[in-house]
Amino acid sequence: MQTAAPSYTILDGSVRQLDRRARIDFMADSATFLAVVTVVAIVAALIAKAPTAAAFAAFVGLVLSGISVLMAGLRWSRFTWQAGPESLDLHHGVITRRSSSVPYHRIQQIDLRQRPVQRMLGLSTLILRTAAASTDAELPGVATADADALRQEFLHRAGLDDLDDAV
C-alpha cells in the first residue's frame, strides 16, 4: 500500500466502534416489527372484546421489545472495526460471533446506504464489496458527515486504478 500515513483519522488503525447514534437505529430496526405486531394484536383483541388477551399481548410485546432493545444495545457494543494497514477487520455478532477481514486491494465497489431512521439520525451504512458475494464488510452506522471521506479513503487504499483484473 502506498498510503504511508492515513489521511483520515478514523482509519488510523485503532479499534473503533460504530457511531453512538447507531444504537438508536438498531433499536428502531429490531423494535419496529415487534411494535407493529403488538399493536395489531392489541387492536384485534379489543375488537374481539377480550381485554385479558389485549393486556397479555401488551405485556408480551413489552417484554419482547425490552429484550430486542437489550439485544440492539449488545449488537452495538459487540460491533468493532479496525482499519489495519492491509485490510479492514470487523468483529460483530451477539449469539454467533463473526470476524471478517477484507483486504483493501480486493475492494471492487463501495456502497453508501441510508435507511429512513438513519437519515433522521444522520447515519449511513458503508458497504465494501469484493468479487465474492459472501464477503461480509458492512459498517452499519457511520456518521454521514464522515461517510464520504471514509469512502474516498477506502477507494484510495483499494487503489482502484490497479484493480483491473482482480477476478
Binding site: E86, S87, G93, I95, T96, R97, R98, S99, S100, S101, V102, P103, H105, R106, T130, A131, A132, A133, S134, T135, D136, A137, D161, D162, L163, D164, D165, A166, V167
Partner: protein, 681 residues
C-alpha cells in the same frame, strides 16, 4: 466475393482415418495449427525474430509504444510493404480454395507452424468469414480484401470488423422446438378433429387445421427470421461487438481482455443441423455478461474461439512488453506463454504453444466413474433411511403396528426411487461426459465432452477460483477421485447446471493428480500438502453432533415401533466412529500459494483455493463453538454460492488463516509449467 459452401471447407467434424495434414488435429483450427498467423515467416521458425512492422522504417525491432501500438494503426497496404510471399511447401496439401474466395486481395498466404511443422495454406479467417454474409450485406465492403495482410505485417484492426450474421440454419435451430410442437398439434388436430362423431360429422375439417397452423407458423418464422436478420457481430483484434434485437436494439461490446471463458456448445438440435453455439463469458452475474452466438458452422465457431483467445493473449503480451507501469493490462497476470516475448521489442505475433492432452476418458472409464459416483454411495444410507421412514409413516397412517404390507410397500417405493436415480446418474454421467478430453494450451484449459450436447469449454487457468478433489469410499477402493474446477464466469454461462460455474473431471486416477494439479495451479512441484488436524476439542464436538443427528433421524421410526423399535437408537452409536472419521479427515494447510481445507467422511473433499483468489476471509463462532474455543473459517471466493469453509478450527488457527491468506505474496499467477506431461487415465 464468392461464398464458400460448407462442403468446400475442410470439415473438422468428419472423423476419419485420413493421413497427413488432413488428420483431425491438423485441421482443427487451433493455435498450434497453421491456421493463424503464428509467425512472421514460416522459414524463420519459432525463434525467428520478427521483421519490424512494415510501416515503421529502419532496421531492427521497433520498441513498442503502447500509446499508439502498431496494431492500433491504420492498415498498411500489403502491396506496398509486403515482403515476398513465402513459398508454399510443395508437400503441403491445401484445402480447396475456390478461386475468388478471398479475392480481390492477394492469394492467401501460408503461415508457418511455429514449431517448424509443415505449413498449410489455409485462408486465415476465410474459414468463417464468407459463409452467410453475402456481398449485399449493408455495411460490408466487398472491395476489402479478406486476407490478413502480408506475412509478417501486423494484423491490422480494421482488416476485418465487418458485420456478420450467424448461420442461416440457426433460424431453423431456434425454431426447432416450436416446429416440433406445432407439427404435433397439427397432427393431433388432424387425427382427433377428423374423427367423425356419432352424428357422422367431422369436428374440425382439414382446412381449419391449415388455416390455424399456417398464419401462426408464418408469424413465428417471420419473427425468427427477423431476429436472425437483426443479429450481427463484428470482431476485430480487441473486441467483439454484438448488435441485436428487432424492436429493442442491444449493442454489446466485449473487450477480449475481459473474456473469462469461451465455450462451444453443440446441443442436439445444433448437432443435427451441423451448427455450433459460441458462448463468450465475462465475469459477472447478469445476462449481459455472457454473449451467445447461435449458431455458427462448427469450423467457424472453432476459428472464432481461437481468434478471440489468440488476440486476448497478444494484447496481454503487448501490455507486458510495454512495462508494468501502465498497469491496465499488466495487472492481468503472468505471461500466458512460457516462451512469450516480454521484452520491449514485443513482436506482433506470439509463438503459440502446442495443445497438450492431459486426460482422456474412455467409455469404460466413464461407466466406472458413474458407478462409483457420489450419488451411488449416498444411496445406500439414504435408501435405508427412506425405507424406515416410509414404513413408519405407513404404520401411523394405517393405525396398525408395523405389518409386512407396509414394509413391502415402503421397500418397493424406495427400490423404484433408487433404481431411477441409479439409471439417471449412470446414463446421465456417461452421456454428458462422453469422449471427455482435458487439454491445455499455454494458459488455457480445454474441456471437450458430450454425446448429445457437445461442449468445448475454454477456461483460462488464471480464472479458476478454486479446485475440489472429491472422493468417496467406493472410489477410495479403486484409487479414483473426481476433480471440480470452479471458474469465475457468469452463473448463467457455461457450467454443468444452470446455476453453476463448475467444471468436472468426472473420474481421475489419484496418481494422476500429481500431474494435473500442478498444471492447474501453475506450480510444477505442487502437491497436496499435509493437512494440520483440528484440535482435540473438535473431536468431541464432531462425535456429539453426529450422534445427535442420528438420534433425530431414527426417532420417528423408533417411537412408532416401540418397544422393539427403540433398538434403532443403538444406530446412533454409529455416530462415534463417524465422528472419529470426520475428525481424522478434516484439516487445513496454508502454503505460500494456496489455502487447503479438507473435510467430509463419505464425500471427502479437499478444497484448494489459490491465495490470490481469496477475496476476503471470515470466521464465525456459535456459542457452542465458543465454549470449546473453536471457530468456523470461511474463505470468500468469487462466484461461489457457498464459500469454502472448515468447521471447528481452534481460535489461533482460525485467526492465522484469516490473516495469513490476506497477505498474498504476489498477485500474479505463475506461468503454466512447460513440462511434458500427459496422463491418460
Amino acid at each position: 466475393m464468392t461464398s464458400m459452401t460448407p462442403s468446400d471447407r475442410p470439415d473438422s467434424e468428419e472423423d476419419g482415418p485420413e493421413p497427413g495434414p488432413h488428420s483431425r488435429a491438423a485441421e482443427r483450427p487451433r493455435y498450434g495449427s497453421s491456421a493463424w498467423p503464428v509467425g512472421p515467416n514460416p522459414l524463420a521458425g519459432p525463434g525467428g525474430a520478427p521483421t519490424g512492422p512494415p510501416s515503421q522504417p529502419g532496421p531492427g525491432p521497433t520498441p513498442l509504444n503502447l500509446a499508439t501500438p502498431m496494431w492500433f494503426g491504420p492498415p498498411t497496404s500489403p502491396a506496398a510493404t509486403s515482403p515476398p510471399a513465402p513459398p508454399i511447401p510443395p508437400g503441403a496439401t491445401s484445402p480447396p480454395i475456390p478461386p475468388g474466395a478471398s479475392s480481390p486481395g492477394p492469394t492467401p498466404p501460408s503461415y508457418g507452424s511455429p514449431h517448424g511443422g509443415p505449413s498449410q495454406p489455409t485462408p486465415l479467417y476465410g474459414m468463417w468469414k464468407p459463409i452467410d454474409i453475402p456481398e449485399t450485406f449493408p455495411k460490408a465492403d466487398p472491395n476489402r480484401p479478406f486476407v490478413p495482410g502480408a506475412p509478417g505485417a501486423p494484423v491490422t484492426p480494421d482488416l476485418d470488423d465487418v458485420p456478420r450474421r450467424t448461420s442461416k440454419r440457426s433460424i431453423l435451430a431456434n425454431l426447432s422446438g416450436t416446429i416440433l410442437v406445432s407439427l404435433y398439434l397439427a397432427f393431433r388436430f388432424e387425427i382427433d378433429g377428423n374423427r367423425p362423431n356419432r352424428a357422422g360429422q367431422t369436428l374440425v375439417p382439414h382446412w381449419v387445421v391449415f388455416a390455424a397452423v399456417l398464419p401462426v407458423a408464418t408469424v413465428l418464422f417471420g419473427i425468427a427470421y427477423l431476429r436472425w436478420r437483426n443479429f450481427t457481430f463484428r470482431v476485430n483484434q480487441h473486441r467483439i461487438v454484438i448488435d441485436r434485437g428487432v424492436l429493442t436494439r442491444h449493442h454489446q461490446v466485449i473487450p477480449f481482455d475481459r473474456v473469462q471463458q469461451v465455450d462451444i456448445n453443440r446441443k442436439l438440435t445444433a448437432l443435427v443441423l451441423g451448427l455450433s453455439e459460441v458462448r463468450i463469458d465475462t465475469a459477472g452475474s447478469g445476462n449481459e455478461t455472457s454473449v451467445k452466438l447461435r449458431f455458427l458452422a462448427p469450423q467457424d465457431a472453432d476459428a472464432l474461439r481461437s481468434f478471440i483467445l489468440y488476440h486476448r493473449d497478444l494484447r496481454r503480451a503487448h501490455a507486458q512488453a510495454a512495462g508494468t507501469g501502465t498497469a491496465t493490462n499488466a495487472a492481468t497476470g503472468g505471461s500466458a506463454y512460457p516462451g512469450a516475448p516480454v521484452s520491449p521489442t514485443s513482436p506482433t505475433h506470439l509463438p503459440l504453444p502446442p495443445e497438450r492432452t492431459l486426460v482422456t476418458l474412455s467409455p469404460r472409464q466413464l461407466i466406472v466413474g458413474a458407478l462409483t459416483h457420489n450419488t451411488m454411495v449416498s444411496l445406500i444410507p439414504l435408501g435405508i433411511l427412506v425405507a424406515v421412514w416410509t414404513g413408519s409413516f405407513m404404520a401411523i397412517a394405517s393405525r396398525r403396528p408395523a405389518n409386512s404390507g407396509a414394509w413391502v410397500a415402503g421397500g418397493l417405493i424406495t427400490f423404484v426411487l433408487l433404481l431411477f436415480i441409479v439409471a439417471q446418474t449412470l446414463i446421465g454421467t456417461v452421456i454428458r461426459h462422453w469422449g471427455f478430453a482435458l487439454s491445455h494450451q499455454g494458459d488455457d484449459l480445454h474441456l471437450r465432452f458430450g454425446l448429445t450436447d457437445q461442449r468445448h469449454l475454454t477456461v483460462p487457468r488464471r480464472r479458476i477460483q478454486h479446485v475440489e478433489v472429491i472422493d468417496n469410499p467406493l472410489r477410495r477402493i479403486f484409487g479414483l477421485v473426481d476433480l471440480h474446477l470452479h471458474s469465475a464466469a457468469s452463473t448463467n454461462g457455461a457450467g454443468e447446471g444452470k446455476a453453476s460455474t463448475k467444471f468436472e473431471i468426472p473420474v481421475l486416477r489419484r496418481a494422476d493428480l500429481a500431474i494435473v494439479l500442478p498444471l492447474l495451479l501453475g506450480d510444477p512441484h505442487w502437491h497436496i500438502p499435509d493437512l494440520t488436524p483440528r484440535p482435540p476439542a473438535a473431536r468431541g464436538r464432531a462425535i456429539r453432533r453426529r450422534v445427535l443427528a442420528l438420534v433425530v433421524a431414527v426417532s420417528l421410526p423408533a417411537i412408532t415401533f416401540r418397544p422393539a423399535g427403540l433398538a434403532l437408537f443403538l444406530l446412533a452409536l454409529a455416530g462415534i466412529p463417524w465422528g472419529l472419521a470426520a475428525h481424522r479427515r478434516a484439516g487445513s494447510a496454508v502454503t505460500p500459494s494456496v489455502a487447503v481445507l479438507g473435510h467430509g467422511v463419505l464425500h471427502h473433499r479437499i478444497v484448494i483455493v489459490p491465495r490470490p483468489k481469496i477475496q476476503s476471509a471470515r470466521t464465525t463462532s456459535s456459542p457452542f463453538q465458543r465454549t470449546a474455543g473453536l471457530q468456523t473459517v470461511h474463505l470468500d471466493v468469487a462466484r461461489s454460492l457457498v464459500a469454502p469453509h472448515l468447521f471447528d478450527v481452534d481460535t489461533a488457527m482460525a485467526d492465522t488463516l484469516r490473516h495469513q491468506v490476506m497477505t498474498v505474496p504476489s498477485r500474479r499467477a505463475a506461468p503454466m509449467p512447460a513440462g511434458p506431461a500427459a496422463a491418460t487415465t
